[in-house]
Symmetry: C2
Subunit: 302 residues, 2 copies
């Protein structure tokens, strides 16, 4: 086993989250935060992001004690990025109450020199122009995974297409696939996305599961059926963290291993949603992770 | 292999269907029609339903040539049940343009004497009071499968609960599970449905796939990813037909075989949606069915 590190560039946030099961103010969040804590269960993680002066020292300490290298976590004058949201009884639906970009508005990621060689890179959901800038700073990463969102598909599709063309693995959901390709059909949409560059595409379907697609093959893994989802914020980033963490830990990018990695991603997402913030990832043992891996295999076994 | 017959009681309809891929007037439809044509690929099928004087002789002939026993297809004075619908670009969404019950309004199913011993029974989606009446006419069926809909959960829940208590396998979707149990969570909802009687519950999730639940185990099968869904009308009934057809053909009700049956159900649904009416089920070979079975197994294989 060749343990390689993984680099994440994304957001650090303080969230106000309300769900049918409670609420939390100043909840530690952000794509880079969730990704890092999930991936750190598998391998070394380096993080590039920006926080404000109000970002708690305890949060930095938490990341450090989990083995996350936060030399790339810049502190800028001003307040940390903030998001407020309210989840419905149907936990798949939510209203955004507010978004305050704060220091994130002027974020220009600078990749520390000793990060530029890291082979596994996760481009969290930020402006495509910044994602391109990050790629230009990296020294030929082996495997680039990209997350994005509707906003960028609608507002900066040209930049986004340039990032996608340099991406090895694209993570999107059904509606993003439709927006990017204009195709309502999964298989037709996948063909078109592969033509844009990525060797691999994952279609995330939330509580249903996820497809992994290569130009030749398709794989599907159901999601772990969580008994009490409490706070879904960060599920997609934890999914990406488990997935990339597994790939980097095993230094592999084969379709066969991507299938396994997808299961680990799904599992990290399932633990994440059971508690507020990233609490569900903190007291997690390898055994608990492996138990859910076996559960997911059994779930589809004849 | 113990080939047993299956009995379906449900609707016979003439539909006007419009989808983004075309339209068809007087499309042969109805739950009993779709179910019978799917199940007939596996075993003998007997059908109880009502049609009007306008129901074409060619449709009866079609059913007969497929080996469906239509001695229980009553002809009543008046017009056949009619439904008109319009599917959206997102084929999972549809508007009902009209529903004309016609002869279906006074339907009182009479089970022919030689049908009463049939061990596998499918209660298509009709009023729960009629479903209870059918059960009272049957001579201890081995395996009762029930389909229902939101309307009955909302309007006649007391009758519906009585049918459910006599059901071996209940087929519902996510929102019906919520309505019946008041639970938004899949696993909690399943526990409550099992308490109402059924040994097995299948949660249909359309293009995503379906869960099969027993009191002890859970199984998930993704749907076959169809390249060009043309007309989804009847997908759920074709699913039930493939599933019950397989069980009856093998005279089995074990969880292990229900898993396989679920795959066959999913496959018959996938062929159905590729064409208007039940055209997708008519020129289908065992080999084509088996190919999709292998595809579905490979789709979840590591």
């Amino acid at each position: 086993m060749q343990n390689k590190p993984v680099l994440v560039v994304g957001s650090i946030a303080l969230d106000d989250v309300r769900t049918p099961f409670g609420e939390r103010k100043n909840s530690l969040g952000g794509s880079a935060f969730y990704f890092a804590l999930a991936a750190a269960h598998f391998t070394d993680v380096a993080l590039v992001a920006v926080a404000g002066r109000d970002y708690p020292a305890s949060a930095r300490q938490l990341l450090r004690t989990r083995g996350v290298n936060i030399d790339g976590l810049e502190t800028a004058d001003g307040k940390t990025f903030r998001w407020g949201g309210h989840y419905h009884q149907d936990i798949n639906e939510r209203d955004t109450l507010y978004t305050e970009l704060n220091v994130f508005a002027d974020f220009r990621p600078r990749i520390p020199a000793d990060y530029c060689q890291i082979p596994y890179l996760f481009l969290g959901n930020i402006q495509p122009a910044l994602q391109l800038d990050i790629l230009s700073q990296m020294n030929h990463p082996k495997f680039v995974t990209l997350d994005t969102m509707e906003l960028w598909i609608k507002s900066t599709v040209k930049d986004l297409r340039r990032v996608i063309s340099k991406t090895d693995l694209l993570l999107i959901n059904d509606s993003e696939l439709r927006l990017i390709t204009g195709e309502y059909n999964l298989r037709k949409g996948l063909k078109r996305v592969h033509q844009m560059g990525p060797q691999y595409v994952i279609i995330k379907q939330g509580e249903h599961g996820a497809y992994l697609s290569s130009r030749k093959s398709l794989f599907y893994a159901p999601a772990y059926p969580v008994e009490q989802p409490t706070d879904p914020t960060g599920a997609g980033d934890s999914f990406a963290g488990g997935l990339l963490g597994y790939l980097a830990a095993n230094d592999t990018r084969s379709f066969r291993n991507l299938k396994k990695a997808l299961l680990y991603g799904s599992i990290m997402g399932s633990f994440l949603v059971e508690h507020f913030s990233a609490d569900g990832l903190l007291h997690l043992t390898k055994r608990q992770i492996d138990d859910r891996y076996r559960y997911l295999r059994k779930l589809v076994s004849l």
